[in-house]
């Protein structure tokens, strides 16, 4: 009788109950089985015997337990590290920052670490990658800081797929074939810079096999060095099932003023927009091949504010470049918008012009639209202007103190992470901000209290001295206030990480 057999018998008896079916007698055997037999016969009841035997077998198992044999799995370790470690205290502060600081600050600190040629202590990499899982806007910066060990680690967790790639050191073909979506776009853009036709052909070769999201993302590469030879492929893409793909393809085609599409779109719209300024909308949709082939959506979405005819007019309007209007009406952009704003079709026309302006980055129309569109539509337009033009626009708005909060919102939205503003505008913003910050009523201005940390993350460090002095006042109200401490902490972190290049590297193993 083996030990396993005895254990099974004990288990059975314990499950059923010894009052109904006591464990069968253990037959004498080896010393271990003999001991169990002895315990069984020497116990005062079947239940006590079972318990004592269970204790004995459990103890034997514990003492004699051998782990399972297994060969070490094939494992490709992480590549060796060559970069020095970031100071562990700074590294921990960076990780804490990734939980609750403005994204702009997070990106700046991450970029400073990369620029200083440092790496994080490996035990902090999971927290770094988790931050990338939560916030996609940080992913580029996180991939850079995570480095080779981060990429290696990311393969073990589906949530960190964004960081899995083959790295900048691997050749472009490998990145195109095996990299993440971002790496493949990057490879395609690089090819596009060198040989636009070959790059396009690479995309065309795989296009039909790609899911919609990847089709939409990779199309962006064709914005680099637009070629006349791109037009047939882009035209074909207008018939895509995905609305997102169609919108992107249309945006790219609009950059080709000499295309067949441009001629057709112009002729089509000219039937409804008269040279003398009269505007009418289509009575019905053209259900022939023409509209569909050019990506015109016949069916208005249910929740859209436009009516059917306005919807069709908007669709036609967004198919032409903004300069079509100045040529049609022989007037400047501001006058075009003035005419479009009159009458029943203003919403459709402005919407169409807005989209085509964004696609073509037509600067005169950007400036004209900024003057007529509501504030919440400004940021994407502003990003099309050179920084100097944006700053002029904002400088003018700075003169309106009641709009300060809206202005901050616009600046923070329009300035990409890593972008800063300088000079006169920064000084003006800080002066106005300090006035608000010194006002006791600030505690009730929730928008401003939310935006000011973002502003402090955006402005150049040299402009922040007045705010820093205010936040560091030895004033009981300020010292005990977490909001002021947050501002002081942001400035302090930015200064310490800006000083990374000058600080000695921590070499060797970290904590």
């Amino acid at each position: 009788m083996s030990l396993s057999t005895v254990e099974l018998q004990l288990l059975r008896a314990a499950t059923i109950g010894t009052a109904r079916a006591p464990a069968p007698a253990v037959e004498e055997g080896d010393p271990v089985i003999g001991l169990l037999a002895q315990i069984q016969t020497g116990s005062e009841s079947p239940a006590v015997a079972l318990l004592r035997m269970a204790a004995t077998t459990a103890t034997l198992r514990l003492a004699a337990q051998l782990p399972q044999r297994a060969a070490i799995p094939d494992f490709v370790p992480a590549p060796a590290e060559s970069l020095p470690l970031l100071d562990p205290g700074l590294a921990r502060e960076l990780i804490e920052c990734l939980n609750d600081a403005p994204p702009r600050l997070q990106i700046e600190l991450l970029q400073r670490v990369t620029a200083a040629g440092r790496r994080l202590p490996p035990t902090l990499l999971p927290a770094l990658l988790d931050a990338g899982r939560r916030q996609s806007v940080l992913r580029d910066a996180i991939r850079a800081v995570g480095g080779a060990r981060g990429r290696w680690l990311a393969q073990f967790n589906d949530d960190w797929r964004f960081a899995v790639g083959v790295g900048e050191t691997v050749d472009r073909e490998a990145r195109w074939l095996h990299g993440s979506l971002e790496e493949r776009l990057d490879a395609l853009i690089q090819w596009r810079s060198e040989d636009p036709d070959a790059a396009r052909d690479k995309l065309v070769g795989v296009y039909a096999t790609l899911p919609a999201k990847e089709r939409a993302v990779l199309l962006a590469a064709l914005a680099v060095q637009p070629q006349k030879s791109d037009q047939p492929f882009l035209q074909q893409t207008l018939a895509d099932r995905s609305r997102d793909v169609v919108d992107r393809a249309l945006g790219l085609l609009l950059r080709h003023p000499d295309s067949d599409h441009a001629s057709r779109a112009g002729e089509r719209l000219a039937r409804f927009i008269d040279a003398n300024g009269s505007i009418k909308a289509p009575e019905e949709a053209d259900t022939g091949v023409g509209w569909k082939a050019d990506g015109i959506e016949l069916k208005r979405p249910k929740n859209d504010s436009l009516g059917d005819r306005a919807w069709w007019l908007y669709q036609l309007a967004r198919q032409v470049r903004p300069d079509w209007w100045t040529q049609r009406w022989q007037c400047e952009p501001a006058a075009v918008l003035k005419r479009c704003k009159k009458g029943d079709w203003n919403e459709a026309l402005l919407r169409g012009l807005h989209e085509s302006t964004l696609a073509c980055a037509d600067q005169p129309f950007v400036e004209a639209l900024l003057a007529v569109l509501p504030n919440h539509l400004h940021p994407p337009l502003l990003t099309l202007l050179p920084l100097a033009a944006r700053e002029r626009w904002w400088q003018a708005r700075l003169a309106k103190p009641k709009e300060f909060s809206a202005l901050l919102q616009e600046i923070c939205t329009a300035c990409a992470p890593g972008e800063s503003i300088g000079g006169v505008l920064a000084k003006g913003l800080v002066e106005t901000a300090v006035v608000h910050m010194a006002d006791a009523r600030l505690r009730y201005h929730y928008d401003l209290r939310y935006q000011l940390p973002e502003l402090v993350s955006l402005l150049p460090l040299e402009a922040l001295t007045p705010i820093e002095q205010l936040a560091n006042r030895d004033d009981a109200e300020i010292l005990g206030n977490p909001w002021w401490r947050q501002l002081a902490r942001i400035i302090d972190l930015r200064r310490r990480f800006a000083g990374l290049d000058a600080s000695p590297a921590l070499l060797g193993p970290g904590p």
Partner: protein, 438 residues
């Protein structure tokens, strides 16, 4: 104790306290900062008009804190921040005579410490040795009667059959645990609470519960035959029942085991009723011995002494009486030393496990050391490979990924504790340094 940022972090009751302390590490928030050889002190401006008065006594191995803030956490964020400032911005402190609120506290502490030392130096005669003997005898009687009741209850369950039990009957087990507490047998009560959690839990619960019940029966047998046992086994049975050992008596009555001790791991487990248990594992490089120091705390209070994993010292441990020879208390520390990690192969390790189990099958946790180990993840299960064998790991996903990141896929040395099959990793040494489980 040399204070570092890491040691301050180790003193924090939780991560939130350390983070809050970081937010107070600006010198301008401290209108007063001072230090001398014995203490550091400061006044921290809060939201009220009067700043908080915070002070830290540095004379002992472990700092002692006091703060006038109303926080229930200990040490509070002000105490931690003061220590951090002392480490990172020492120049901000003035070296001068402490104010009265500091010197009075330090003097009172010194007085109490002297009185305690004087009491310890007095001949250890109990106020009334006979009364103590009577008390202990009474407690043994209660425990013996409780063990009889427990055995009756266990056999009743076996007679009825465990197959008819389900999770809804855990209350019956917990009621018996409460009976053990009433009988001053908290050790038996803890085992019954563990048993309660097994009832109806998972596929093999009957096999696991039966093993635990068997060990409880064995404990009852030991309690019944206590007088006939050897002194060592009697001490072991007493420990299983839940008798605690007076530390001062232990240090006075047991030999000091001097060695180069390294703190190889520690783990805090939340027990019920806000009680936490901390296991600090140590390894003696010369004796080759493992030791487990057990401490308890209630709610957010701090443990008496703090240990930093990966540190070492030349000093003594005093092992508790009993057969297992694992549990110990801290004795004298002579000097801080660099760590010396175990050098054990698998056979030596498993022999050690077997020997300890043979001495005491009731051991909760055993030490485990794997050299040159590699992590593996299969679906969502983590495993550790070493020496041609593999063990399942009991580890949270965040800790597992930290360990994996630290290893970089290279072999690492891992210290873990185990209760049989699975390992609970507590620390690991890799080319990139030390990882420890938080």
């Amino acid at each position: 104790m040399t204070t570092t940022t890491d040691s301050v972090r180790a003193l924090s009751p939780d991560d939130a306290s350390f983070k809050a302390a970081r937010g107070l590490c600006a010198v301008r928030q401290w209108p007063l900062l001072g230090r001398n050889d014995e203490a550091i002190w400061g006044e921290c401006q809060g939201s009220g008009s009067k700043p908080y008065q915070t002070q830290v006594d540095l004379r002992a191995d472990t700092p002692s804190f006091r703060c006038s803030c109303p926080s229930r956490k200990f040490p509070c964020k002000h105490g931690l921040a003061l220590l951090l400032l002392g480490v990172e911005q020492a120049a901000a402190f003035q070296s001068n005579a402490p104010p009265a609120w500091v010197s009075e506290w330090l003097n009172a502490r010194a007085e109490r410490s002297e009185k305690k030392a004087a009491r310890a130096a007095e001949p250890t005669s109990a106020p009334d040795p006979q009364a103590r003997i009577r008390r202990e005898a009474k407690r043994h009687q209660r425990i013996a009667q409780a063990a009889v009741d427990l055995q009756r209850w266990l056999t009743d369950l076996i007679d009825r059959g465990l197959g008819s039990m389900n999770a809804g009957q855990r209350g019956e087990v917990e009621a018996m645990a409460a009976r053990m507490v009433d009988a001053q047998a908290p050790g038996l009560a803890a085992r019954l609470r563990e048993l309660a959690l097994e009832i109806g839990s998972g596929e093999q619960w009957i096999a696991r519960a039966l093993a635990q019940m068997g060990l409880l029966q064995l404990a009852c047998d030991g309690i019944a035959r206590r007088e006939a046992l050897s002194e060592a086994l009697r001490s072991e049975i007493d420990a299983v029942a839940g008798w605690s050992v007076d530390k001062a008596e232990l240090l006075a009555s047991t030999p000091a085991v001097n060695d180069h001790w390294t703190i190889v791991g520690q783990r805090v487990s939340e027990l019920d009723n806000k009680l936490s248990e901390r296991r600090v594992w140590m390894y003696g490089a010369n004796t080759g011995r493992f030791a487990c120091l057990l401490d308890y705390r209630f709610a957010a209070a701090a443990f008496d002494r703090h240990y930093i994993v990966g540190s070492g010292f030349d000093g003594a441990l005093h092992f508790h009486p009993g057969f297992a020879g694992l549990r110990a208390s801290q004795g004298e520390i002579k000097a801080v030393l660099p760590p010396r990690w175990p050098q054990l192969d698998l056979d030596q390790l498993l022999d050690g496990v077997a020997e300890r189990v043979a001495r005491s099958p009731w051991l909760w946790w055993q030490p485990f050391w794997a050299q040159g180990a590699q992590l593996e993840r299969v679906d969502s299960v983590w495993r550790l490979h070493a020496d041609g064998h593999v063990w399942p790991l009991q580890i949270s996903a965040p800790s597992a990924f930290e360990l994996l990141a630290s290893s970089g896929g290279q072999p690492i040395d891992v210290y873990a504790e185990t209760r049989g099959e699975a390992l609970v990793p507590l620390s690991a040494v890799s080319a990139d340094g030390l990882w420890q489980c938080h």
